[in-house]
């Protein structure tokens, strides 16, 4: 009996430990949230609580790319017709998808969740604003916007990342610049201009294609293979430089006022990015290692203008896995 009871203890101890530590941690986080909420109610601004280097290292060590690819494979499996409606309905209910806007409203027509995720919208669902020079390239939530200051960009208020780490070295142009000028100053082409930024978060229920936000030309594409951590606003508030760790595709070019760039940042569920005019681009692929970057120039001897895009034109999409 004694031996048996010891065996049971040995078997159950890890479970007890996991439940106790997980429960304790969750309770602690809830208490912290409650405290912050109370301070906010009193009108006191709470500074963001950033993850410690160990917490970031632990999160980065999770095989998010592998998980993302497995998730993608799973969602490419063709579902039997009878199972499509209940699965997609659950997704619609969970993430608040508006199917009235979808080009194809009949749920049976989508063979799998990946296809459903890439659904297109009815042409009249998103009229493009004519009176403003810049429009939103996608559906989503505005996390932050404003001027770029001190070579740092804000992913949410008070949590920054380095502009140079995010875009990578400025090798996409031959334009000479003073060695003493900062990276931010080197990007600005016209005297007196400023550098601006805007971050849009796409929630799981949002339309996941993106379009050109203005009339511009793309000269260069840079693909950064990287982690695939969640980019939801809570994580963006917690992990500094999150967007510099994650897999992303940076398109750089020019518009009427000078430098212009659009970057698509991947996440765990939405690990791969497609750019319609670039068939060679392959993201979330095991053949690329983290920490490198792969460049493609759209400027050649014949074509000095790059890829010209009109405001509202389809540009690319995010895919599951």
């Amino acid at each position: 009996l004694r031996a048996a009871s010891t065996g049971v203890m040995v078997r159950l101890r890890p479970l007890y430990f996991l439940v106790a530590s997980g429960g304790g941690y969750t309770g602690y986080r809830q208490y912290e949230k409650y405290k912050d909420h109370q301070l906010e109610r009193q009108g006191i601004e709470v500074p963001p609580k950033l993850a410690k280097p160990l917490e970031v290292a632990l999160y980065k060590s999770v095989p998010t790319r592998l998980l993302s690819r497995a998730w993608g494979r799973l969602n490419q499996v063709e579902l039997p017709t009878w199972l499509r409606k209940p699965i997609y309905s659950l997704y619609i209910w969970t993430f608040g998808v508006n199917m009235k806007e979808a080009a194809v409203e009949d749920l049976h027509q989508y063979r799998n969740l990946s296809e459903f995720f890439r659904r297109k919208l009815k042409p009249q669902a998103r009229p493009v604003c004519d009176s403003h020079s810049m429009i939103s390239p996608s559906d989503g939530k505005i996390l932050h916007f404003g001027r770029v200051k001190n070579c740092e960009v804000e992913q949410v208020k008070g949590v920054t990342y380095s502009l140079e780490s995010f875009l990578g070295p400025r090798t996409w142009t031959d334009r000479k610049s003073s060695l003493s000028s900062s990276f931010q100053e080197q990007l600005v082409r016209k005297k007196g201009n400023e550098l601006y930024h805007c971050v849009i978060y796409l929630a799981p229920g949002d339309y996941h294609c993106f379009h050109s936000p203005t009339d511009w030309s793309v000269y260069h594409r840079r693909h950064f293979p990287g982690s695939l951590m969640s980019v939801n606003p809570g994580i963006a508030r917690w992990i500094k430089e999150l967007f510099c760790y994650n897999e992303r595709v940076v398109l750089t070019g020019g518009w009427q006022h000078g430098f212009f760039s659009l970057t698509a940042v991947g996440a765990t569920n939405v690990g791969s990015i497609r750019i319609y005019f670039d068939r060679d681009l392959q993201t979330n692929s095991p053949r690329y290692s983290k920490g490198s970057h792969n460049d493609v120039s759209y400027i050649s001897g014949r074509n000095q203008d790059g890829i010209a895009l009109r405001k509202g034109e389809q540009l690319g999409e995010f895919n599951l896995g």
Binding site: V128, S133, M134, I135, V153, V199, Y207, F260, V265, I273
Partner: protein, 32 residues
């Protein structure tokens, strides 16, 4: 997933946005 725009514009460029707001593709973001 996230889209980040970084661009150059004259000093009088103005965003028509509020942090935390929902936005749809095609809606105005900013102008001069």
């Amino acid at each position: 997933s996230t889209i980040v725009l970084i661009f150059e514009a004259p000093k009088d460029f103005c965003f028509n946005l509020k942090a935390g707001q929902k936005i749809h593709f095609g809606e105005a973001m900013g102008s001069l």
